[in-house]
Amino acid sequence: MSHCNIGFSRVLVCAAFALVLGNGATQAQESLTVLSFGGNFQEQVRDAWYKPAADKIGVRLIQDTLTTVADLRAHVQAGSKSWDVVQMAGASCEAARQEGLLENLGLTAEQLSGIPPEMVTDKYVGVLRYGDLLTWNTTAFKGRAPSTWADFWDVKTFPGTRALDARPTFTLEIALLADGVKPGELYPLDVERAFRKLAEIKPHITTYYTNGAIATQLLKDGEIDLMPLYENRVYEAIREGVPLGYSQQQAVNDINCLAIAKGSTKIEQARRFIAAIAEPSMNARLANHTFSSPANIRATETGVIGKERLTQLTLSSEVAASQVTMNYQWWAPRNRDLALRYKAFIGQ
């Protein structure tokens, strides 16, 4: 027993030394804690942006993950200060801004040049965009392929199993586009009309997916023939050999933003980090690592993006005029009520 104890205390002493030495070594370079959605996606974003941006401004990158604004809310309300930069989807960014969960961004117009003005606020900046595309299993539709959201509603011409997002964001937009609302006249959303249109297709919906991974699996298994799906998932599944077709017409685009978590002790470094990622040539790198599009409109001029990828980007497609950008400012204050209403609607 006693021998064992001595061994253990030695280990402890060594560990303490290691800690002290380790701290000494890292103090030379400060760390920055950055959060994204985890999984494959975060690895790709790390390679495209986080690592080079951290190297550029001379900080050591620490990564963590979050899922929605609820995680940030819990973190901030607990008085924790360990998070610095967060990456979230549009409606979460806006909700976090309105709930006071973010520090001031404090970046100049010059630092953010090329980012579309509607993606810039005092608290966050949009750095990527991704579309929700009509996606189908090509083995299910031999011959004529669907192309618009009206086709998703057309169960006679395109019989097959269908799935929808379990959240109302994207879904209400899709319903209204299917009902003939013009992209430019979409907002403010006619919620009642959207639910009426959804009620038409509801009997034909097999399941409602809660995230992109589940949705992709449904297509892979042949369980679902037709669904709206995020473009990065679409391309990734195609690369894995899933026989998918997709339409960029009437795509509903959302953004991811970068913001500084309330309570961050490294606001200066966080600002420089975000500015580095917003800058066109760094922003462009994303297209080579993921299937999302950079937000900076000058990213396509930098020559960083490969030719083939450039043609794939949803926003550079010929049908860009038929697409819409999600108005997350409209969504943020209504998300809770509409999420619960939609949940009750699909549960009826």
Binding site: T206, G222, G347, Q348
Partner: protein, 295 residues
């Protein structure tokens, strides 16, 4: 009944030694109790307090919202799903436990192992396994179509039925284990005595064996019911969004509502329903079984 269970109770001999032992074992529980208070009771208390704060004031506003609109319907769905699952689990658990009880000891151990193995597997994994079995091109539909028994695939997943099947499978061991323990503690001499007094096997089973196993049966079904009420993973996955239960409602509210109080009120309501069920069950079993003790 009373005299039967009295036969199994210990003789009343409370020496000083026994008192001291009891005190010592109570002391042993203190660290665990502290942990429970610290990590369970305090956050729970915080949760309850938050649920009564509405827009900065002490109010029942969150509770009014919690039972407003379609939420009462969701509560009804949750309870009826839990009832169906509990009934199915109870009906499956009794014959299964009885069959295991009849087996020779070694085989019974094996059989229990087969029941425990899935129990030790994550509910998430088991739920996905059921999805693979139940979906449109899943094993069950492929088998049925392959054999010409049906023409179109049956809708087994993404509905109430699929959710129920998955939940029964996940929760069944929790019904079987207390029941089997109760069966094991039955004095078989009593069943033989009944037979020697002329009772038919069926009569001996229903008047002697079955009532003696009821405490285990009830605790098993109550555990299943209570867990089914708060079940999240299986309804979320096998329900495909179309089965809205209380736990998924709490999740949606916690994600979208900036005020924790809203989700807290839903949680407190679920806790209240659960406690009500537990106390009803304990009252019922105490009334039916008098002084007999059960887990």
């Amino acid at each position: 009944m009373t005299s039967l269970s009295g036969a199994g109770s210990r003789p009343t001999r409370t020496s000083n030694v026994e008192k001291r032992d009891r005190l010592h074992s109570a002391l042993l529980a203190i660290p665990a109790l502290l942990l429970v208070v610290l990590v369970l009771m305090l956050p729970l208390l915080w949760l309850v307090l938050r649920s009564f704060q509405y827009e900065g004031a002490l109010s029942l506003g969150h509770y009014a919202n919690a039972i407003a609109g379609p939420n009462l319907g969701h509560l009804g769905d949750t309870v009826s799903l839990a009832l169906c699952v509990t009934a199915a689990a109870a009906l499956l658990a009794y014959p299964t436990s009885y069959a295991i009880w009849l087996l020779p000891r070694r085989l019974a151990g094996m059989a229990l192992l087969f029941i425990m193995l899935p129990f030790f597997t994550s509910a998430l994994v088991r739920t996905y396994a059921w999805l693979i079995l139940l979906q449109r091109r899943g094993l069950i539909n492929s088998f049925l179509i392959g054999n010409g028994l049906i023409e179109r695939p049956l809708q087994l997943a993404y509905n109430f039925l699929g959710t129920g099947i998955g939940m029964v499978h996940v929760l069944l061991p929790l019904a079987i284990l207390p029941l089997y323990a109760a069966m094991r503690s039955v004095d078989t001499g009593l069943v033989r005595a009944a037979a020697s007094l002329g009772a038919s096997p069926a009569r001996a089973f229903w008047t002697i064996f079955f009532p003696l196993t009821m405490p285990g049966f009830i605790s098993g079904t109550v555990i299943v019911f209570v867990l089914a009420l708060g079940f999240y993973i299986t309804p979320a996955i096998l329900g495909g969004g179309r089965v809205v239960v209380w736990a998924t409602l709490i999740e949606t509210t916690a994600v979208y509502d900036p005020d924790w109080g809203a989700a807290s009120a839903l949680g407190v309501l679920l806790l209240a329903v659960t406690l009500a069920v537990l106390s009803c069950a304990s009252l019922l079993s105490r009334r039916v079984f008098g002084s007999s003790r059960h887990a």
